[in-house]
Each structure stands twice: as C-alpha cells, then as structure tokens.
C-alpha cells in the first residue's frame, strides 16, 4: 500500500488560481466544471486581520466514503494506493458518492454522464511526475509525495511544520494537508 499526500503551504499560497487552470488544461476538464478550487478565509476586524488561502480538491481519503458508498464499484482505489478514481464506464451517475463525500460535493458531473474528480494526476504520478497543479504552482506552495516514505519531502514537512487537514473528525483520513 502506497499513501500519496498533497501538502500545501498556506504561508506561501497567494490564491492565484493557477492550480485550477493547470488542472483544467492537463485533464481537459470541460468549461464550467472544476476538479480543484481556491478558498479565501479571513478572520478578525480591520486592522487586526488574518487571511488564509487554500487550494482544495478531493482529499484522497484513507477511508473514502465515496468508495464504500458506490453501488457499482465505479469509485475505487487506484492500484494499491489511496488515490481515489472513478471508472467512467462503470459510473451510472447516481450521485451516491457526491452525497457520501463530506467535503461539500467535491465530485462533479461530467457532461458525458459520469462523476469526475481529482485523480492526483495518477497518469503523471505513474511517470514519476507531480500532479499538474503542483508542478505548475508559481509560488511552489504545493508538495506531493508518499507519506509512508519517511524520507520524502512531504513527510519531512509534516514532521517539521504545524499543519491541519479539513474535517478530520469525519474519520475519512484525508490526505491533503495544509501547513500553517
């Protein structure tokens, strides 16, 4: 079992949205749909303020409720990893996965009638490349690698820096990490 993680440094993310465009180009995502997006969260009152930018996407959960709730087996783990994929030819578009995802409808309906989502660019990972969003990010705030490899950069960052995941209380074991 290989566990892939994306680690995103909120200190250097500027919310530019290049990850969104890079993903849409790489994966030929149709107009109007997105596999990733950027959130801006501001706290406080002028002039005592904090703003955080987060590039968000599928969390490629260790316990993916979209996989366990898929009636046709279309939602599945890629090979022996935590990368969650949808097999278009098995997907009936029933949207059980969308309902089962705790991360607010991150899965989206492709016009061709199947649920489409972030794949961590497994077609690039297979060739030893980073996902398109990571390799395109102009501020280099995004990192990708195996967290079961102690020597990987993502492991080192998670050892050395404070971080959070989104809604860990769901028990889904998300694998997109945000450095604080």
């Amino acid at each position: 079992m290989r566990t892939y993680a994306m680690v995103i440094d909120t200190r250097t993310c500027i919310g530019c949205g290049d990850c969104v465009v890079a993903c849409k180009n790489e994966n030929k995502v149709p107009a109007g749909l997105n596999r990733d997006w950027v959130v801006e969260a501001t706290r406080g009152e002028y002039p005592k303020l904090q703003t955080e930018f987060r590039s968000e996407r599928c969390n490629h959960c260790g316990h993916a409720t979209c996989v366990t709730n898929c009636p046709t087996g279309a939602s599945h783990y890629w090979r022996d990893t935590n990368i969650v994929l949808v097999a278009a030819e098995k997907c009936t578009g029933c949207k059980a996965c969308i309902a089962a995802c705790p991360y607010d409808a991150r899965l989206l309906m492709h016009p061709d009638g199947y649920v489409d989502k972030c794949t961590f660019c497994h077609h690039r990972v297979e060739k030893g490349q980073d996902p398109a969003c990571v390799s395109g990010c102009p501020t280099r705030c995004m990192y990708f690698g195996q967290i079961d490899d102690r020597d990987s950069e993502v492991s080192r960052l998670l050892r050395e820096r404070r971080y959070k995941t989104l809604m860990p209380e769901t028990g889904n074991r998300p694998h997109v990490y945000y450095l604080l």
């Binding site: 440094d9 200190r11 250097t12 500027i14 919310g15 530019c16 949205g17 290049d18 969104v20 465009v21 890079a22 849409k24 180009n25 790489e26 030929k28 107009a31 109007g32 749909l33 997105n34 997006w37 950027v38 959130v39 801006e40 969260a41 501001t42 706290r43 406080g44 009152e45 002028y46 002039p47 303020l49 904090q50 703003t51 955080e52 930018f53 046709t72 097999a87 030819e89 098995k90 997907c91 578009g93 029933c94 607010d104 991150r106 989206l108 309906m109 492709h110 016009p111 061709d112 009638g113 199947y114 077609h123 398109a132 390799s135 395109g136 990010c137 102009p138 501020t139 280099r140 705030c141």
Partner: protein
C-alpha cells in the same frame, strides 16, 4: 467580535455542472497525454513579463502551456494567465478580418475588407495627412513588441511621435525618480534581488495580486527563508497577509512615512555610513530636510503608530544592505509620484542596497545585432518639445499629452496607430477627450487581437493573430543571466489574422517604403540575428531558450569605484537636475485630499487571474474571475445599507456612474475606501463574455493629478459613492 469571511475565489462553478441525460455505459476515458503529443516553444504574451514556455498539443488539439524550466522569468512555472493562453487563441470573439468604417457618422458600422483594401485606405490617408499637415503628424500608442514594427514604418514615413501608456499610466514616476537618483531605472523584469533579501518593504505594491512571475516567485522564496516582509497598504492585500508588519496607512500619505523612516535611520545613526560617503551626494541637505519629520509628526498624517514606524526602520537597518525598499511598478497615484519614488530611492541609498546582494542587482542582456536595413530618416521637427515641452526630463512619449494634442482643428497630431492598448480603459477619466480626438483625427488605425472600446473609434481595424500563431522579435530582456527566447507559431493564424510585422511591411510597401523592411518573412531576421550570436532559428525551435554568459559583475565589486550616470557621477540624494528645472530637489510631503461626505477613496489594483482589461473575455480566465466585486468595509456597508452580493453602481462627484457591480463586504479594506480590480466594465458588446460585467475604475476617475516631473496621470485621488440598484443578494 471575531468576524469570519469565507470566499470561494475560483472554481465557483464547481458542482453546478449540467445534469446528465445519459446514465452509465460511457466508454473508458483515455488518459491525458496518451495520444500523439507535440511541443512548440513560445514566449507568453498574456502580460508584459514574457515568460518562456512550451505549448503542447495532443492529437492536433491544443492541450496545455507549461513554463520553460531554464527561463529566469518563470523557472518552469507559468502563472494563472500564462497557463490560460490557449483561451486567448480559442476565444470565439476574436477579430477575424480587416474592418473599415462605413460612413462618417459616430455609429460603429464596419465592413470587412481585404488586407489590400485596408492597406490602400491607410496609405492614402497617411499621404493626405502628410500633404496637408506634414509627415510628422501621426502618433503611435503601443503596448507590446509588435508595436515596434509600426514604429519603424511610421519613422520611415516621417512620424516619430509615440507613447507607451506603460510609462505615463504606470512606471513613469519610478523610471524618472530612479534615473534622477541612481542614473538608471529599475528595468523590466525589475532588477530587485528579492531572492537574497533579508528584509523586503512593499509600499502599496501588491505583489502576488500582480502576478509578475519571477517577482512573485522570489518573494515567496524569501518568505520561505524567513525574510522579514513589511507591507504598507491601506488594504489588507495578499502581501499584507504574509507580512510580519502590516502598516495600514491612510491613503496618500506614503511620503510622510518615507520621510519619517529617513528621519529614524539618520537620527538613530542606522544608515550605511561607508556607502553614503563613497557613493552619495547631498547627504547634508537630506539630514537637514528630514529633521522636522519624526515618527510623531508622521503619525498625524499616516495614522501609523510612531513605535511601529521606529521598529520597522530598525528592522530594515538590521538587514541592510540586503534590505529592499521595493520600488513598486504601477506608481501613478497622487500626482506627487516622482517625489514618492525618489523617497524610496533615497531610502535604498541610505540602506546601501543599490548594487548589493538582496537589494538591486545589475542586469545584462544579450548583445544582439540589428538586422541590416536602412535607418529611417531623422525627424524633421521636435515633436516632444511641441507636445510635452513642459516635461523636459521625460525621454519617452507621454500618452495623455499626445491625446491632448490630438484634439481640435489645429491639433498637431492628425493620425493614430494604436497597437494592443485599449486606450479608453487605460487613460483615466479620458472618455470625453478620446471621443473628441476621434472626431478630430483624420485617421485612426487600431491593431489588436480582440474587439474592444478603442476599436469602436477606429477608421480601420487590423486583426492581429495571437502570440501562439506568430513569430515576434526574440525575447532579449535584461536579467540576472542573459538569455534569448523564441516565440514561434504553434498554429497557423486563425481566420484572416496576421502578425504585426506583416502588416507594417505591407503598409510600408503601399507607401513606397518597402526598402525599410528588406525581408520576406520575419523568420529570416530572427535566423540572421541568431546566427550572429552562435545559434540559429533551427536550434532555437528545439531549445526555446538559450542562456548566454554574463560579461559584467552582478553587484558592485567591493573596493572598486562605481560611476553613476548622474550629473555628479554619484547617487543624488539631493537632485541637482530637479533643482535646475525648478522642482523640489528633496521629496516634499503634501497631504492628500480627503473624500467629501458620503464618498470613499477609489482604490484599485490587480488580480492574478487578469491582465488589465485585456483578458476579461478569455474564456478560461473569465470562468476563474468573472466580475470585480467592489470591496466595502462592514462599517461603510452598514451606513450604505448594502450586503455582499447586492448590486450597486459607483458614482463619482461629477455624477459619472459605472456599470452595475456586486458588493463584497470585507474587513480587508479601510472604512474610508473602496477597492476594485481594474480591467472590468467593458462596454463593447463584441466581447460577449466581458461586456457589461463589473465596473470600470478608470472611467470614474474625475480627479487625475498630473505629476509635474513625469507628466504621468495620478489615478488614486478620485472618490466614489455607492448607489443601490435595488438588486439584492
């Protein structure tokens, strides 16, 4: 109270996709890149940064744009707009064929014509202007390299007047101030050595929102290394949110802060004695000048805590000379902009950062010979003296002055070529003047890839192909390491579009000036130049970019004398040139005007998804950011009775109103100001996505303050109020 605001800033359409009618049974999807992939080098033209990259196609269809790993402008990573360059190529609203105005009325009626007919018309009009008024009466407004071909054609004809709005509407005060102080400018890409800075100070510069690629990259690398970032901005910008110190300054009071910082550096003896002694003149006058401006004085002007002013000055000094007071780029704010930029230059000199690691490095480009062609004849008169004689220190054209001299029967300028600059949204508050100029001019030719407000005023519209469909001059920009990069066609030009070089040559031939363009195809020029520096077009078509060795040191060499191109040969803290022309030789602060009751400072800036007004209609970028919601502080929103998502119109004190635009209530802006991203509010309906969406800041600017030194247009002294349209969220 701990207010929270969440905003999905991109990809807002996420899950709202179309419902499928088909249920299951579609074929397995091929993985990206599993087809036939081809790669073509390019140089991005989505903004002026010009990053080198590669356009990939898969099975004959455009796939993606990726930065070139060796490129000093992007280090392998294009920005949001660069990644979306395919959208500019695929935009279905592009200009398709040459257009000729039909009838003499002000209606926008055009008929498609052949290139030959368009060139004939232009040449006849130019010759008529030459005969009636003189051959020096045609002006060029240009933003982008393609304009150089038209400049050559116009110079060959006898017209030398030109302006890049990027001077008088953007970099002008900075270029002027740094030249006065150090004898040279900051350059583009800016020669800031942020990769090595230990302290970076941004004065209203919102790097990160202006996505100048390598600037952003070096700033974030600096943050990663723990560099101290100090940001001065009335708005909680993205850079402010990354800063150790954010100084939420009262709008328009920056010079007061800069003087107070000088006061602290001098009076606490924190400046670089050796550097000042060796390289600077005018220190004694400066010492005397800043005595009155202590942090307590500055507090009354800026609203900033004197203790914070002192603390930040000490931090800069502790990091010096690797301490960069960033010069900014868009510096046309309040009309005293050359003085503010001078203050920034002087602070850098006190810290000893010019020419030192972490401050400003020395740039170098490739010594590329010019293709052998006849030199255009020398100008017959002095157009600069005639048009902008009041600004003797400015060596380039001032667009707003050229505009003034294009209005009326006896105006000097009788014809315009406008290359890739949408003047109605570029020149602040100039709609009345541009309309008047359009009435007066005998000829207006507009060259662009997209229809826009300016093409509506044209007599002839010439459709240019996009950067992905053409050769252009080699990119040869001053940088840390000299390099050449190639832009070449990845696609054949769409419709009947053509590159600028082809148009300029065609018009020149109609005028009998073909000898000035002694080549058939511009690739011949590129190949000739490349051969001269040991490469070739064929090699560059494979490499995309080639690096060349530096010939000079990147920083001052310790112990060696340095000569500056100023009258004294030194860094001029006290500017002898400014004294000579009757301007303040040391920066002077004058308090800005405050908004009338019920009005707010109109503050504007950039967003990473767009370049000015040029990319709003790009389908990829429009999807990412389709509107420029107006930022309003909750306190102001309560007074105005507006909430996030409500529509309003902005109205200036003269009653000029904007398009309707949504409100974004946010703590990130001061209660006395509103903020909006520049570039929205297109009115030309031929841009089908962008038309009528968002508001245009430039059109609301009623109080444009002209800088007495640079002649540039101060664009931050205007006020607006919000008028509810009744459409609530």
């Amino acid at each position: 109270m701990n207010r929270r605001e969440f905003l999905k800033v991109s990809g807002a359409l996420g899950a709202a996709g179309a419902m499928p009618t088909l249920l299951g049974g579609c074929a397995a999807r091929p993985l990206p890149g599993s087809g036939k992939v081809s790669a073509t080098p390019t140089v991005c033209n989505m903004c002026f940064w010009q990053c080198a990259g590669t356009l990939y196609q898969e099975d004959g269809r455009p796939w993606k744009l990726v930065g070139h790993p060796d490129d000093p402008h992007c280090a392998g990573r294009l920005c949001t707009r660069g990644s979306a360059g395919i959208g500019a190529y695929l935009d279905t609203d592009r200009l398709r064929q040459p257009l000729l105005r039909v009838g003499e009325d002000q209606g926008q009626r055009f008929k498609p014509v052949s290139w030959d007919e368009a060139f004939d018309f232009i040449a006849r009009k130019m010759e008529a202007i030459g005969k009636e008024h003189g051959k020096d009466r045609i002006a060029l407004f240009s933003h982008g390299g393609g304009g150089d071909h038209f400049r050559r054609m116009l110079q060959a004809f006898g017209s030398h007047a030109y302006a890049h709005p990027s001077f008088a509407q953007c970099r002008g005060p900075r270029a002027t101030a740094f030249s006065l102080t150090f004898g040279e400018g900051v350059g583009s890409p800016d020669r800031t050595d942020m990769a090595n800075s230990k302290c970076i100070v941004l004065i209203g510069s919102h790097i990160g929102e202006n996505l100048h690629n390598s600037q952003v990259q070096t700033l974030t690398q600096a943050l990663d290394r723990g560099t101290t970032l100090i940001t001065v901005d009335p708005r909680f910008s993205v850079a402010a949110s990354k800063s150790k110190h954010w100084l939420p300054i009262k709008p328009g009071t920056d010079i007061a802060l800069l003087l107070a910082w000088m006061n602290v550096l001098i009076n606490e003896d924190l400046y670089d004695h050796d550097y000042v002694a060796r390289h600077c003149v005018g220190f004694e006058q400066l010492v005397e000048h800043v005595q009155a401006f202590n942090p307590e004085w500055a507090y009354l002007e800026t609203g900033l805590d004197p203790a914070l002013i002192r603390a930040t000055a000490r931090e800069m000094a502790a990091a010096a000379p690797a301490s960069l007071i960033h010069p900014g780029r868009h510096t046309t704010w309040y009309g005293d902009d050359t003085q503010r930029c001078r203050a920034i230059a002087i602070l850098n000199a006190l810290l000893g950062s010019w020419g030192r690691p972490g401050g400003f490095y020395k740039q170098e480009k490739v010594d590329l010979p010019e293709y052998p062609a006849p030199k255009p004849p020398k100008p017959v008169g002095d157009w600069k003296q005639l048009v902008q004689g009041d600004y003797p220190l400015v060596g380039t054209g001032i667009s707003n002055k050229l505009l003034e001299h294009s209005i009326g029967e006896d105006a000097f300028i009788k014809g315009w070529f406008v290359y890739a600059t949408n003047l109605p949204m570029t020149l602040p508050g100039a709609h009345v003047q541009i309309e008047a100029a359009a009435q007066s001019l005998d000829l207006m030719v507009v060259v662009d890839t997209m229809p826009a407000e300016i093409t509506g005023y044209a007599d002839v519209v010439l459709p240019e192909c996009t950067y992905l469909e053409r050769y252009d001059d080699l990119r040869n920009k001053p940088e840390r390491t000299p390099s050449l990069a190639l832009r070449m066609p990845a696609f054949a030009p769409s419709h009947e579009t053509k590159p600028a070089w082809w148009m300029a040559k065609g018009i020149a031939e109609k005028l009998g000036l073909g000898a000035y363009f002694p080549w058939q195809d511009y690739s011949e020029v590129l190949d000739w130049q490349l051969q001269k520096v040991g490469s070739s077009l064929a090699e560059m078509q494979t490499l995309g970019i080639k690096m060349f060795p530096r010939k000079t040191a990147i920083y001052f060499e310790e112990g060696k004398p340095v000569s500056f191109s100023t009258p004294s040969g030194k860094i001029e803290l006290y500017s002898s040139i400014l004294a000579d022309v009757g301007q303040d030789p040391l920066p002077k602060y004058s308090p800005p005007e405050r908004p009338p009751q019920g009005y707010y400072h109109l503050n504007y800036g950039r967003a990473p998804a767009h370049t000015f007004a040029r990319t709003i209609n790009n389908p990829q970028l429009f999807e990412l950011m389709p509107e420029n919601a107006v930022w309003v502080n909750p306190a102001a929103a309560a007074v105005l009775g507006v909430a996030s998502g409500d529509y309003v119109q902005l109205e200036n004190p003269q009653g000029r109103r904007s398009n309707r635009v949504r409100v974004r209530v946010t703590e990130r802006i001061r209660p006395d100001s509103i903020y909006m991203v520049h570039g929205f509010g297109h009115t030309d309906t031929r841009q089908r996505l962008a038309a009528g969406v968002g508001a245009d800041d430039a059109d609301l600017m009623h109080n444009v303050r002209i800088d007495p030194v640079a002649g540039s247009t101060g664009m931050r002294a205007s006020f607006v109020t919000l008028v509810k349209t009744g459409e609530v969220a």
